[in-house]
């Protein structure tokens, strides 16, 4: 961690940079929503942000607390119903990037947001699937962002809520999912991308001041490290001020 910015700020900004200007992005709540809006307010002013509650091309001035805050529908170009959103827009193949968070992830970028422990006798009951299984399946490409630690980066998921590359290789293709699958996992330590053949997540970029050992220690499987490991560019002053202003406006708006 740098004295100039936090590891969470680095994560959000690194995730924001993955969205290209003009892309159509189906946005999950929380970290993905923060990153997508930083992208929109910096390098990608024409990114189209779609929230599963119905808003298309939302331009919120504060981050929504829920997936359906009024701020989203009031700033959107249009608002559609839930059945239309999932059938026409997501399943219809209109989404370039699905942007998801997760509670647990495995080495093939499958994610769990359902339960820790046994499904019928859960240790921790998590919120569940929401839109994620079909976002992961039908978006042309998927980005995932979550903090990297051994509780989250596990050898085996307790429950597969949404599919990444299943058991690797061409498994995803064989199962007939429409989209290509996850292209990047952005964490507070670095960026992992799937190997072109095996589809195993490989550490391809480390954030500044993070060591490889730290990333390996935070991963519940033997983490593959790219021989061409890059260092993520530190946040610029503009990126940091946009993110901090956004967070400040949001905190003020939501109160409590």
């Amino acid at each position: 961690m740098s004295e100039h910015y936090t590891s969470d700020e680095m994560m959000t900004i690194a995730a924001a940079r993955m969205l290209r200007n003009g892309a159509v992005c189906f946005v999950g709540i929380g970290l993905p929503s923060a990153a997508a809006n930083v992208a929109r307010l910096t390098h990608a002013p024409d990114v189209v942000l779609i929230y599963e509650s119905g808003p298309i091309a939302a331009k919120p001035s504060v981050l929504p607390l829920s997936i359906g805050d009024g701020e989203l529908s009031e700033t959107a170009e249009t608002v559609v119903s839930i059945p239309e959103m999932f059938a026409y827009w997501l399943q219809g193949g209109r989404i370039d990037f699905g942007f998801l968070g997760a509670a647990q992830i495995d080495r093939f970028a499958n994610i769990n947001t359902t339960v820790i422990g046994d499904y019928r006798k859960p240790k921790t009951r998590l919120p569940g699937a929401g839109g994620a299984p079909e976002i992961a399946a039908c978006s042309k490409q998927v980005l995932i962002t979550l903090r990297q630690n051994k509780r989250a980066f596990v050898q085996k998921l307790d429950f597969v809520t949404s599919g990444g590359y299943f058991d690797g290789g061409d498994a995803r293709k064989r199962m007939g999912l429409a989209g290509k699958g996850p292209i990047g996992v952005i964490t507070d330590l670095g960026i992992l991308t799937p190997d072109t053949e095996t589809k195993e997540l490989t550490l391809t970029s480390l954030h500044p001041d993070v060591t490889v050992e730290k990333a390996i220690d935070a991963t519940g499987w033997p983490l593959k490290v790219s021989p061409r490991l890059a260092t993520t560019a530190a946040p610029t002053e503009v990126e940091l001020s946009v993110l901090r202003d956004l967070n400040q406006r949001t905190a003020h708006e939501h109160g409590g």
Partner: protein
């Protein structure tokens, strides 16, 4: 029974009345259980829940729902779990008088292993493998909307979620509204529920609080955050229900009491 409203227009006033009437053994359906079903579950009204995302949006867990699933308190809770796309397809099938909803969904997910309602069929034309789930046909759907006219036609706008499908799929539909007006002045493509698909309309100003009604009041995000601490402990929750649901004379008093407590 389905109480719908996706983050927006959640029929809280109707939910509180169900708690006050001490209804038991309800089989309830809702894409996002939200605080309203957390309250119904904690108050002991519910024995079965069909849902697709059960969290407190942007805050964390629904602790009463979790306590019921993890520990069977205040009673055991059977869950039937879907994804949003699956629930949406099932409601649309219900409204369309079809036996099942169909989607490209659930492939590779563990959900079909635990929910026998999720099956796969082969397309008779292309042979593609598609997910099928039974239509949702509630005995009663309750939704909240912005306006109704004196004849009982209902108008809603903003995030309209799955309410139209949930109403048309139901045997009976009850709508609470912010206000009853002389004329809806609805533009031609607005979401209007004609009076003849609605069983009853009740005017309840603020009836979606602490969720929101676009054009009337915004989501009380601070209360959604406060709910985390209220719902976390059984006794704190029970005191809250006594004070704020059983201890008020109407929904307007509930809202005033919650807002007064927040400003202390």
């Amino acid at each position: 029974m389905a109480l719908e409203g996706f983050t927006h227009l959640i029929p809280f006033a109707a939910g509180h009345e169900i708690i006050r009437q001490k209804r038991r053994n309800l089989s309830v359906i809702r894409m996002t259980p939200d605080l309203i079903y957390d309250q119904l579950i904690g108050a002991g009204c519910v024995s079965k829940l069909q849902f697709s995302w059960g969290g407190n949006p942007g805050v964390g867990s629904l602790h009463r729902m979790r306590d019921a699933v993890e520990n069977g308190w205040p009673g055991s809770l059977e869950i039937v779990e879907h994804s949003h796309a699956g629930m949406a397809a099932a409601y649309a099938a219900g409204a369309s008088n079809l036996p099942f909803g169909m989607l490209r969904g659930y492939v590779g997910s563990d959900l079909p292993n635990y929910n026998p309602q999720i099956k796969f069929i082969d397309c008779p034309f292309t042979g593609e493998h598609l997910a099928a789930i039974p239509a949702i046909r509630p005995d009663v759907t309750i939704v909240h909307a912005q306006k109704a006219d004196h004849r009982g036609n209902v108008l809603m706008w903003g995030v309209v979620g799955v309410q139209k499908e949930a109403v048309l799929a139901a045997k009976r539909a009850i709508v609470t509204v912010e206000e009853i007006v002389t004329s809806l002045n609805a533009p031609p493509n607005a979401v209007v529920l004609p009076s003849w698909v609605v069983t009853a309309v009740c005017e309840v100003k603020g009836g979606a609080f602490p969720s929101y009604a676009q054009g009337y009041y915004s989501r009380n995000n601070a209360f959604y955050k406060t709910w985390d601490a209220i719902a976390r402990e059984r006794d704190v929750f029970q005191d809250w229900i006594e004070r704020y649901v059983f201890g008020v004379k109407d929904f307007a008093e509930f809202r005033r009491a919650v807002e007064a407590a927040a400003s202390v």
